[in-house]
Symmetry: C7
Subunit: 94 residues, 7 copies
């Protein structure tokens, strides 16, 4: 399997159809849209300036929402994954 | 429910009609306009370089004012939310 | 009332007429002009990497000078305020 | 009087005539020119991440040289001042 | 042999044919593609502000995935290597 | 005399004729050229986040090499000086 | 001799002929090319925020590979040197 480094997380993305019902474009809406996925592996955590390693908040199996344009796509064993930093994960779907 | 990570907060925004009474444009006014909402979930806090986790100042239920263009829009369970960092919240309406 | 977060301060601005007597434009003067106001609420202070919360230097009632383009305009209870970080405040008028 | 915040300093600038005797422009001279002034008030100092407040090196009455384009011009009590951070002060004229 | 400094790692890259089966360009896919390689040498680690040296997570012999455009190509003893910082390594193939 | 602040140093520059013997321009040479001078005054040092003041490495009288475009030119008592941060000094000529 | 300051290192560069055998330009190769040299002097090390001085990893006499566009060229005693920060050194040739 893939073992992410530091504060990185590997995610299997979930395809969601984006249906823009009405299609009205609000000019002052510059907000980015998130994406959904499932955590399949987590790193050992980031090391602070004090030499402490801070464990990640997300765990294997968590379903998460993350910033759409974050991370790097990886193809491994015929499947597509996304490797991103925990900081790009917005929330856990609990 | 959605559980935000770190210093993130989930907000249910409150629609407010923006009535620009007179419509006078002041050329040296480059200030951004804020928006109002209600906190529905808070993260466990940011971890400092010393490994300490700092609890958030806002709590579930707080009505807050935040920077208009901050955060990421999330649709969950048929409702729209906004996930942003506590630092994008300007004030609590108390 | 509005309760600002962290190192933020709420200010009621004081309108001052900007009379440019002569109108001579000095080409090498790239300095920004400040604005005056009165502090109506202060946050609980910024939290450092050591987890310490540093109290603000300004207090409710202080008349202050701040950077003109700093902060976010907020309308609350029919009145207009400005929410900015203490670092955008230049001096207290004592 | 005006009381500057943090590591800020208030300066009464000294007008100096800039006589460019020969007017030869050296193309590889990208250095900025400084300006002279007198310190009329100093802040209480910057607070570090450890929560320590570091007293300023300059004191009221010091004549100083500072970066020409630094700071904010303030008019107070009919006089013009400049509020800048101590870091923009290059040297004390002793 | 080459001995990388600090948090740097030397990698022997693995050539992979990039077959874009269908060739459909998704306009909102701004994600970068990673590359594969084998670690041949690791540095002694980064030194923190506390003077502590933090050992690297990757070891000689590890097969890793890294950001495609990271690092510096080095030719040594007739072979081509890539020297990059551990932070540019995304995951270990375990 | 001029007393530089913090980690600043005052230098009396030494004019050197730049003779480009052959005049061959190497297109991949983007390196900046240094300049020589003598230290005439040093600051008391930079203050770290721990509140410690770190004494400078250079002393009055040192002949040094520094980045050509660094610092601010100052005219004082009929002489021209350069005020720069110690970090812009590359080496002491010993 | 020249005594570099802080985390700086003085290097005598080694000329290497760059023979691009085939001349095929790979469009997605944006990697920079390194250069070789010998360390002739090292600084006393960088001072951290804790006031600790961290000794350099490279020593006089080390043959090193460094980023091609890093540093400042210095001519001293008829010879050409390069002064760069240790962080621009990629690896020691051991």
């Amino acid at each position: 399997m893939l073992k992410p480094l530091g504060d990185r997380v590997i995610i299997e993305t979930v395809e969601k159809e984006e249906k823009t019902a009405s299609g009205i474009v609000l000019p002052d809406s510059a907000k980015e849209k998130p994406q959904e996925g499932q955590v399949v592996a987590v790193g050992t955590g980031k090391v602070t300036d004090n030499g402490e390693r801070i464990a990640l908040e997300v765990s294997e199996g968590d379903r998460v929402i993350f910033s759409k344009y974050a991370g790097t796509e990886v193809k491994y064993d015929g499947k597509e994954y996304l490797i991103l930093r925990q900081d790009d994960i917005l929330a856990i779907i609990g």
